[in-house]
C-alpha cells in the first residue's frame, strides 16, 4: 500500500477547480437540492489538498493506515468532496449524478459507513474538529505519519464544541492537525457579521495558542503555499483562515439573482446552463 495521490501543476489545478465547480452545479441541479454555493467557496482548498501533492491517499485502498485524513466538518458542502473523490478515482464521475438519490452512497451529507474515503459522518455542525483531534492523536500514537485536515465553515464556529476542540488540539500540541476555516461570510439566514460576528477569527485561534495564517482562499497559489507552511510547523496545530466567496465561480449569476448567499438551494436548470457557460469561459 502506498500513496497514489494525483499531483498536478498550478495550471492543471486551476483547470481541476473549474471541473469540480462544473460537477457541483450539475449534481446539485440534477438532485434538485443541496448546497452548491457552500461547496464552491471551498473548491480551491479541496483541489489543493487532493490534487496539489499535499495529501497522501490511495483510492484503491481507502483505509490505508498511512493516509492523510480529510474531514469535512461543514458536511453540507459535500458535493465538492464527492467531485474531488470522483476525479481522484474513488468512484466513477458518472456516479456523481446519483447525489441524494435513494440507494446512492452519495448522501446529502457525508456518510462514512456507505462511502469508503469519507473519514467522518458529518452534518451536525461543530463536530468535525473534535473527530480530527481523535484522528491526530491516534495516528501520532501509531506513528503512521498522517496529517489531518479539517475544513469548517465560518458560521460553524458558533458551535461551542469547536472551541473545546481548539483547546484540546493545543493541549496535545497536534502539529499533525491543520484546520481550515472556509470564511465565506455567510450562514443560513444571512451574513456571519450580522448573525454572530466571530471576527477576528485568526486572533481567536491565536489566543488558544494555534499557529495562524490568513489567505485569499479562492486562489490556488496562496492556498498551496499556506498548506506548505502548515506542514513545516512542528510544535502545534495550525489554522488557515481562507477568505472565500460563497458561490465563487458563478458570482455574476448570484448578483443577477440578488442573492449573494444563495444558501441551500440548487440552481434551476436554466441557471445551471448559464453557470456552466460562465465557468467554461474561465
Amino acid at each position: 500500500m502506498a500513496n497514489e495521490a494525483k499531483r498536478l501543476n498550478v495550471d492543471e489545478l486551476k483547470n481541476m477547480a473549474r471541473v469540480l465547480r462544473e460537477h457541483i452545479v450539475r449534481m446539485t441541479t440534477a438532485a434538485g437540492s443541496g448546497h452548491p454555493t457552500s461547496s464552491m467557496s471551498a473548491v480551491e482548498i479541496v483541489t489543493a489538498l487532493y490534487f496539489g501533492g499535499l495529501m497522501k491517499y490511495n483510492p484503491q485502498e481507502p483505509h490505508w493506515p498511512g493516509r492523510d485524513r480529510f474531514i469535512l466538518s461543514k458536511g453540507h458542502a459535500v458535493p465538492v468532496l464527492y467531485a474531488a473523490m470522483a476525479e481522484a478515482g474513488y468512484f466513477s464521475v458518472d456516479e456523481l449524478k446519483t447525489l441524494r438519490q435513494l440507494g446512492s452512497p452519495l448522501e446529502g451529507h457525508p456518510n462514512m459507513r456507505r462511502l469508503p474515503g469519507i473519514e467522518a459522518s458529518t452534518g451536525s455542525l461543530g463536530q468535525g474538529l473534535s473527530i480530527g483531534v481523535g484522528h491526530a492523536l491516534a495516528t501520532r500514537l501509531d506513528k503512521t505519519g498522517s496529517h489531518v485536515y479539517v475544513v469548517m465553515g465560518d458560521g460553524e464556529l458558533g458551535e461551542g464544541q469547536v472551541w473545546e476542540a481548539v483547546a484540546t488540539a493545543h493541549k496535545y500540541k497536534l502539529s499533525n492537525l491543520t484546520a481550515i476555516v472556509d470564511q465565506n461570510g455567510f450562514q443560513q439566514t444571512g451574513a456571519t457579521h450580522d448573525v454572530l460576528d466571530l471576527t477576528p477569527v485568526a486572533d481567536k485561534f491565536a489566543a488558544f495558542g494555534w499557529h495562524t495564517q490568513t489567505i485569499e482562499g479562492n486562489q490556488i497559489e496562496p492556498v498551496l503555499s499556506a498548506f506548505d507552511t502548515a506542514l513545516k510547523v512542528t510544535d502545534g496545530p495550525t489554522v488557515i483562515v481562507a477568505k472565500t466567496k460563497k458561490g465563487f465561480g458563478i458570482l455574476p449569476i448570484l448578483e443577477e439573482e440578488h442573492d449573494m448567499n444563495y444558501h441551500g438551494k440548487p440552481l434551476s436548470p436554466a441557471l445551471a446552463e448559464k453557470a456552466l457557460a460562465l465557468l467554461a469561459q474561465n
Binding site: M112, S121, E164, T168
Partner: protein, 319 residues
C-alpha cells in the same frame, strides 16, 4: 442497611469500581484500548487506567462534547475508545455527538455513565442520571448494559471491550450487594435468572436486582414464588427470557432506578405485549426529579424499595 442484606448477600464494591478495575486489567493485554476523560476520571474510575497508560489516555477537560468527538476519531483509527463521565453529563451534554459522531457511523466507542440513578444521594438531582438508559436506547445500533454488582460489571466490561461497536455501560456510585459470589455466565443480551419461581417474575437491573432478591425473599415468606431475572442488557432485550417468564409465571414486575419513560420497563413491556401480554407492574422513579439526601432514604421516598416490589407482585398475583 443495603439491598440484598435481608437475603444474606454480602456488600461488595460499587459497579463503578468494578468497571475501573476491569478496564485497568484489560488495558495491559489490549494496547488498542484508549481512554478519553472529561476530568472526572477519579469519579468514574478510569483514573487507574490513565495512570498505567498515560500515552493512550486523554483528559480533554470539562468538555463532554469534545470528549465524545475525540473518542470517535480514535475509534475511526482502530482504537477501542472508552469515554466516561457522570451518566447525566455524558448522555445529556454530549447526546448529539453520541448520535452523529458515534452511533450513526457505528464506531467502536464504549461510553460509560457513572453516578446513575438517585442512589448517588447527597449531591442531588443535577448529578443524577435518571434518563440515561432511555437516551442510550434511542441511539440506533447501540447496546445498553446496566449491571447489578461488581462480579457482573467486571464481566460486562470485558465483554463490551472485546466486542466491536458502540455500547453504553451504566454504573453506580453506591456499594452494591454481591449478587454473584461464585461468578456468573455473562453474555450481552442474555438475562440471568438469579432466583427460580413460578408465581410471578421480577425483572430488574442495576441496584434494583438486589432489591428484587429481597422482595423475592419476602414473597416466599408470604407463600408467593417469585422468579428474579437480572436483565442487565436493556438493548437488545432478551425476548426469550421474557417469553418464558410470561408463559411460566403469568405476571411480571419490572424494577429499575430510572424514569418510567423509555427504560427497562418500556423495553420489557414492548416485548411482552407482542409475545404474550401478561399483567405487569412497574417500579421506577416515575416522572420527577429527586432531591438531595442519603441513598437509601431517597430510594425509599421515591418508591424504589423491596416493599414496593412486594406490593406490586402481590397485587398482580391476586388479580
Amino acid at each position: 442497611m443495603y439491598y440484598g442484606e435481608a437475603s444474606g448477600l454480602k456488600l461488595g464494591h460499587a459497579t463503578r469500581d468494578a468497571f475501573g478495575d476491569a478496564l485497568l486489567a484489560l488495558g495491559v493485554s489490549h494496547p488498542e484500548i484508549a481512554v478519553v476523560d472529561g476530568d472526572v476520571g477519579n469519579s468514574t474510575r478510569t483514573e487507574p487506567f490513565a495512570k498505567a497508560h498515560p500515552e493512550r489516555s486523554f483528559n480533554v477537560g470539562i468538555a463532554e462534547s469534545d470528549m465524545v468527538g475525540v473518542a470517535a476519531g480514535l475509534a475511526a483509527c482502530g482504537k477501542t475508545a472508552v469515554v466516561s463521565s457522570f451518566a447525566c453529563f455524558l448522555l445529556c451534554n454530549a447526546y448529539d455527538q453520541l448520535r452523529m459522531s458515534v452511533a450513526f457511523p457505528g464506531l467502536n466507542v464504549k461510553f460509560v455513565g457513572s453516578h446513575a440513578g438517585i442512589s448517588i444521594g447527597a449531591d442531588g438531582p443535577s448529578q443524577m442520571g435518571i434518563e440515561d438508559v432511555s437516551l442510550a436506547c434511542s441511539l440506533p445500533g447501540v447496546k445498553v448494559i446496566v449491571p447489578c454488582d461488581a462480579t457482573s460489571t467486571a464481566k460486562a466490561t470485558e465483554a463490551m471491550l472485546l466486542e466491536a461497536g458502540p455500547m453504553y455501560l451504566r454504573t453506580g456510585r453506591e456499594k452494591a450487594a454481591i449478587v454473584y459470589p461464585d461468578g456468573c455466565d455473562f453474555e450481552i443480551g442474555k438475562a440471568i435468572q438469579v432466583r427460580a419461581g413460578d408465581d410471578v417474575t421480577i425483572i430488574a437491573n442495576g441496584l434494583m436486582v438486589a432489591a428484587a432478591i429481597d422482595a423475592a425473599t419476602e414473597l416466599a415468606r408470604q407463600g408467593i414464588s417469585a422468579r428474579v431475572l437480572d436483565m442487565h442488557t436493556v438493548k437488545p432485550i432478551d425476548e426469550q427470557a421474557i417469553a418464558a417468564a410470561a408463559q411460566e409465571t403469568r405476571a411480571i414486575v419490572v424494577a429499575e432506578e430510572h424514569l418510567a419513560h423509555g427504560g427497562l420497563g418500556a423495553a420489557v413491556a414492548m416485548a411482552a405485549a407482542r409475545i404474550n401480554p401478561v399483567p405487569m407492574a412497574f417500579v421506577n422513579i416515575g416522572d420527577c426529579f429527586a432531591e438531595s439526601g442519603d441513598a437509601y432514604g431517597l430510594l425509599e421516598k421515591y418508591g424504589l424499595t423491596p416493599a414496593a416490589i412486594v406490593d406490586a407482585a402481590r397485587t398482580l398475583t391476586q388479580r
